[in-house]
């Protein structure tokens, strides 16, 4: 929809033009959320498109995903036997409520900044121990783990004037074995629970619970937990999220169930 309060638009091509943001300016990545709701108070758009950030940079220490990387581009990243966790990219992309037409424009950074419980890029980058790189005008860059970035529905650690530059996924996590489960109130609806299990090369295990909780929850185990250990850990998560996409008691129940399925899959693999 039109954002009729917007009177300014600028398209910086380098960092010095991007920052600082003026009062009332909003950062435009894909626009798929910004243009989807009334935005009272937004007077100017700062289009990140001109910065030319490479979508995904591959290095020995992992992948660096630009905030402006579209979900489509991420989902198309080639899988490799060395990095089985890359399979999650596509699974998480498909968990976005929007269709492939939205994947084309919606960005990884935008999904994180929305900080909705059902944000599948939050699920993905949390599960793979991602770190967010934040730019601001005069402060040094900040590096914040995704778990400390997404704090609550529509609430994150972004300070006024800060811009998400990228998300780094460490190579160790990408080389992990993973299992994925997602459920919603309808066959391809908005996630009510999205759980990802990960067994690192050293055997340590991480279960990431998202969508079912107000913010991501990670459960860490030195090795694959027993079914009872895992269930105890999931069952004690509190609080569970409540919105039109599922009640807290049901989200807790299906999360326990999906966690058990993930454990079984990881055990059998």
């Amino acid at each position: 929809m039109d954002i009729n309060t917007v009177t300014g638009y600028r398209r910086p091509t380098r960092r010095s033009e991007l920052l600082p943001l003026a009062p009332g300016e909003a950062v435009l990545a894909g626009g798929s959320w910004l243009f989807s709701e009334p935005q009272p108070g937004v007077q100017g758009l700062v289009d990140l498109d001109g910065l030319g950030w490479p979508s995904i940079t591959d290095g020995p220490d992992g992948l660096t995903i630009a905030a402006t990387c579209t979900i489509e581009t991420l989902a198309a990243w080639p899988r490799s036997p060395q990095r089985p966790a890359v399979a999650l990219f596509r699974r998480c992309a498909h968990s976005l409520l929007g269709s492939f037409k939205v994947h084309r424009v919606a960005t990884v950074g935008g999904n994180l900044c929305m900080s909705l419980p059902a944000g599948p890029m939050i699920s993905l980058t949390t599960a793979l121990d991602g770190t967010v790189q934040l730019w601001s005008g005069d402060e040094p860059d900040r590096l914040v783990p995704v778990t400390e970035f997404v704090l609550a529905p529509l609430t994150n650690a972004l300070r006024p004037g800060e811009v998400v530059r990228s998300i780094h996924l460490p190579d160790l996590a990408l080389r992990a074995r993973v299992a994925f489960r997602q459920l919603s109130l309808s066959p391809v609806g908005r996630s009510a629970a999205l759980l990802i299990g990960r067994v690192d090369p050293d055997g340590s295990t991480v279960l990431t619970v998202t969508a079912a909780t107000p913010a991501p929850v990670q459960l860490r185990f030195p090795a694959l937990p027993t079914a009872a250990e895992l269930d105890d850990a999931v069952a004690t998560i509190d609080p569970w999220y409540d919105d039109p996409h599922g009640t807290p008691d049901w989200r807790r129940a299906i999360s326990r169930r999906l966690a058990a399925e993930i454990r079984d899959e990881l055990e059998q693999a």
Binding site: M1, T5, S99, L185, A253
Partner: protein, 919 residues
């Protein structure tokens, strides 16, 4: 920007920085790009940017400035269809057609399949394209290239699946809807109206200062309750205007629900109007409020319309929030229940609840008004009832009825939501105040938060039967939530307890029904008009009763349903105009039961967690609304030898335009492509009550059939005189597409028309909607229920309809499928969530789950073989009816599968899981 291979002219205004591509495309004349949600959820606005599909409503227009944009019209035009467009026409992959442009563009540019495999591909790729009408089967056919209809130039009489005449225009985006007006089509100087809604659910305006808003350049008027006529009216429209309480003003100093109009700004652009709106200064006095029926009924509760006079406004008791009530008993229910127990039978009792449902039609409400050259007020509006809107506007503004013209172009879906006066009053006020053309278009969020929803019901049922399943008692206690205004609340309540209970032959019946005001968004007309809510309760209770008695649920119905010769009795036996002109319920029960016993459907999923079960339910509906439904039709043989239908009823995907062509084609021996239609315009015929109560085929169709018969007599008579001259022997001749044939000799239609007065022949017909017949529907499901997650998978869906003679099999099948799909939505997924202070929490499609293509199974549609003498060519109505038995059939199947009786809609996964988990 290049649009459809043409660069924009150099002098084209550049996009504003906050403008989305959708509005920029429409601003530059590309009206084929539709607005369904304006939020990226529905896909109606899909266009290609550099060959790849995007939702143009969430795409910044500035980002497209150096790119190629292709709209649906750019893919092909009505005479030059793209292959995908051809497939949508051939499959009849649309009804109202408002989503179709987006469907076609998406289908024309699908990505190459990934490595996920083909399974679920369509479901995933089309999750961003919503259709409310079809139930998606015909869209799947279009995607697969399966044709379903005959072209209009072919056989097009009754019984043929003739293609809808608008098809080529719909698939190219060139069929105009309400808002699809080029600036040149209107008097100059179009203004836009924007509404300031109440932030409070119950308040009084103490002071309102519009000075600053009115001073904004470009603002032409800021209107408040001080500027409106003092005439109370109802937004709900009926043939008899006294059916609805007069409790509404265009703007009222008392605000009874969140979002109710406080003020309206009329300005040169929406942006200016929104800017000015923010400058309106309002002081409110907060009033007590009631948010639930229980609160509204409590002693001493705040009276939502306590200021109203009961008699003048026709409210049963404004002091206690009681909008309307009905109480009656035949026989003795208490004795009947006791008799059931005494006879070794069983009794059941329970309370069922339904929530608010949004109509979800893809075209939001909107109107454009202006004064014509004679000073007459003209409204182009998205309505099911143009004549009733005209009449009420004339009354509100004290105008002569001839001083108002109201018309609808093709309407982008209705489902009852447009049997209301929701935008037209405001536009009329703004036009009469400013003298300028004015447009008011609702947003999708308006549709969820201020447009009337389906009435929430609480229904308590008591039923008893003897050991062999003969009903001895049936009683319902019904409470409905009217919301803040009484539009449709009496009618919905009365209708809800009529055919639902009248379906069963039982000596002891009782009805207690009451409707209450609350400080929540109003409830209104919705497909089924109250029947669905009560049928959900009764058919669930009867399923329980059959279980108690160890009887087959089909047999329990066979033993107790009314049959020809019975009277239709709800809670009193008074004469009415309902009759069994035809009867196909017995066939419907047999057809469904037999189909369910044959192999078919999809297999149950593997695994121990899944339980499988079957359920069925039955519904009856009168074929026309009660208390008179009138239609005039005029049929003309025009000088070019074509026929021209003038009819008042509206086309919103119901397919009546096609049916009307077929009626004329059958009677006059011609083909659909030789028949033109003008419709839904208060100028074209004397009157039409409107397109509601499933009246388009049976009432307007009867009027038209009468006109066609009369015209045929004239045509044959003129032909005979032309052929022979005086003194020739008078054989009848045979009327065909080109003229009347007498043996070898053809008298051409053009010559016949030329012989008529003014070079044409004209006949009229009228129907008054009485007497009325009865139509029946039976639905069955087989479901698998996952006991760990509550997931319900529909493995099989069978629906039998008693539609009389099926005029257009493909269209009628599609109506049934669409009704079943909409009901699957309200049974499994949909509910408008309202918090405990009257705030709607589900105000967008992404928070209100309307069925996507993935959610709707194939429904096997079967038709009873009946002929109804009261309908045209033996037809009965079949628009609302298929919706009604779906919810209880699903609930009964879940009961059968998982052993749980869910008393509340939707039967969502969380509720199913909770019921199973709590044992």
């Amino acid at each position: 920007m290049r649009i459809n291979d043409h660069p924009l002219p150099a002098d084209t205004v550049a996009p504003r920085p906050g403008q989305c591509l959708r509005t920029y495309l429409r601003q530059t004349g590309h009206l084929d790009v539709k607005k369904g949600c304006d939020a990226g959820d529905c896909g109606a606005c899909t266009v290609l940017v550099d060959g790849r599909p995007v939702h143009s409503c969430i795409y910044p227009a500035v980002r497209a400035t150096d790119h190629d944009v292709t709209t649906v019209r750019g893919l092909g035009g009505p005479d030059d269809l793209h292959p995908v467009q051809q497939r949508f026409v051939a499959a009849a992959g649309f009804q109202c057609g408002f989503c179709t442009a987006g469907m076609v563009v998406t289908a024309a540019a699908l990505p190459t399949p990934g490595d996920d495999g083909p399974e679920g591909e369509v479901e995933r790729l089309f999750k961003g394209n919503l259709c409310r009408c079809t139930g998606y089967r015909s869209i799947r056919d279009a995607l697969a290239g399966i044709p379903n209809v005959e072209p209009p130039c072919g056989k097009s009489g009754v019984g043929v699946s003739t293609a809808a005449p608008a098809g080529p225009r719909i698939v190219t985006g060139t069929e105009p809807y309400t808002m699809d007006v080029a600036p040149g089509d209107l008097p100059a100087g179009l203004l836009h109206a924007v509404v300031l809604g109440s932030p409070h659910p119950s308040a009084r305006i103490i002071r309102i200062d519009t000075t600053a808003a009115a001073a904004v350049p470009g603002v032409h008027a800021v209107l408040t309750h001080d500027d409106v006529p003092a005439t109370l009216f109802s937004t709900g429209r009926h043939q008899i205007r006294l059916d609805d309480p007069d409790d509404t003003l265009i703007m009222d100093p008392v605000l009874r629900f969140r979002g109710q109009r406080v003020a309206v700004v009329v300005a040169e652009t929406v942006a200016v109007a929104e800017h000015a709106r923010a400058l309106i200064d309002v002081e409110y006095e907060l009033l007590p409020a009631v948010f639930t029926v229980a609160q509204a009924m409590a002693p001493g509760a705040h009276a939502v319309h306590g200021d109203k006079d009961a008699t003048a406004s026709r409210i049963t008791d404004p002091a206690t929030n009681l909008v309307a009530e009905q109480h009656g008993e035949v026989g003795d229910v208490a004795a009947g229940l006791a008799a059931a127990e005494a006879a070794g039978g069983a009794t059941v009792a329970g309370t069922w609840r339904t929530g608010r449902i949004a109509h979800g039609q893809l075209e939001t409400h909107g109107s454009i008004g202006w004064l014509d050259e004679t000073g007459r007020l003209v409204l182009r509006t998205s309505t099911q009832v143009p004549f009733l809107v005209r009449d009420e506007l004339a009354r509100i503004f004290g105008l002569d009825r001839d001083g108002v013209r109201v018309f609808a172009t093709r309407v982008g879906g209705g489902f009852g939501g447009k049997q209301e006066l929701l935008t037209e009053d405001l536009v009329a006020l703004a036009v009469l105040t400013t003298g300028r053309p004015v447009q008011y278009e609702m947003s999708r969020t308006d549709e969820f938060t201020i447009v009337p929803s389906r009435h929430p019901f609480t229904v308590t049922v008591h039923a008893g039967a003897t050991g062999d399943g003969v009903l001895t008692a049936l009683a319902v206690d019904v409470l409905t939530d009217a919301g803040a205004y009484g539009n449709h609340s009496p009618g919905v309540m009365f209708h809800s307890v009529h055919e639902s209970i009248g379906l069963y032959r039982c000596p002891n019946k009782r009805v207690d029904a009451r409707s209450y005001y609350t400080n929540t968004l109003p409830s209104g007309a919705f497909r089924g008009y109250g029947l669905g809510q009560v049928i959900f309760a009764i058919e669930s209770a009867l399923d329980d009763l059959a279980r108690r008695l160890g009887l087959d649920p089909y047999d329990l119905r066979r033993r107790n349903v009314v049959v020809p010769g019975d009277r239709i009795i709800a809670d009193s036996d008074h004469p009415d105009d309902l009759e069994f002109a035809s009867y196909g319920l017995d066939q419907c029960l047999d057809l469904v039961q037999q189909a369910m016993s044959r192999p078919g459907g999809v297999p149950a999923p593997d695994g121990d967690d899944w339980s499988v079960g079957d359920g069925m339910a039955t519904a009856m509906i009168a074929t026309m609304p009660p208390r008179g439904h009138h239609a005039d039709a005029t049929l003309t043989l025009t000088p070019d030898g074509r026929y021209r239908i003038a009819i008042g009823t509206a086309e919103f995907g119901n397919g009546t335009t096609t049916v009307h062509q077929q009626i004329v084609a059958s009677t006059l021996g011609t083909t659909a492509d030789r028949i033109d239609i003008v419709q839904s315009d208060s100028d074209v015929v004397g009157h039409d009550t409107g397109a509601f109560g499933s009246a388009g085929t049976v009432v307007a169709g009867r009027a038209l059939a009468a006109a066609a018969e009369a015209l045929k007599v004239q045509v044959l008579s003129f032909a005979a005189s032309l052929r022979a001259g005086p003194g020739s022997p008078g054989d009848d001749g045979e009327l065909g597409p080109d003229g009347v044939r007498f043996g070898e000799r053809l008298v051409r239609l053009t010559d016949i028309a030329a012989a008529g007065p003014d070079g044409r022949l004209t006949a009229t017909g009228r129907h008054d909607g009485t007497p009325r017949s009865l139509a029946f529907n039976v639905q069955a499901f087989r479901v698998a229920v996952h006991r760990g997650t509550g997931e319900v998978r529909i493995l099989r869906s069978v629906h039998a309809a008693d539609a009389g003679v099926v005029v257009n099999p493909e269209q009628c099948r599609a109506q049934v499928e669409g009704g079943v799909a909409q009901a699957i939505g309200s049974s499994l997924y949909e509910e408008i969530h309202v918090d405990d202070v009257g705030t709607v929490l589900t105000s967008t499609f992404r928070n209100y789950h309307m069925p996507q293509i993935a959610d709707v199974p194939v429904t096997e549609v079967l038709f009873a073989d009946t002929i109804d003498p009261l309908g045209p060519f033996g037809a009965k109505s079949m628009s609302e009816a298929p919706y009604n038995p779906v919810a209880p059939a699903l609930a009964n199947a879940i009961r059968d599968a998982a052993g749980i009786r869910l008393p509340e809609l939707p039967l969502s996964r969380d509720r199913v899981w909770r019921a199973i988990d709590s044992g």
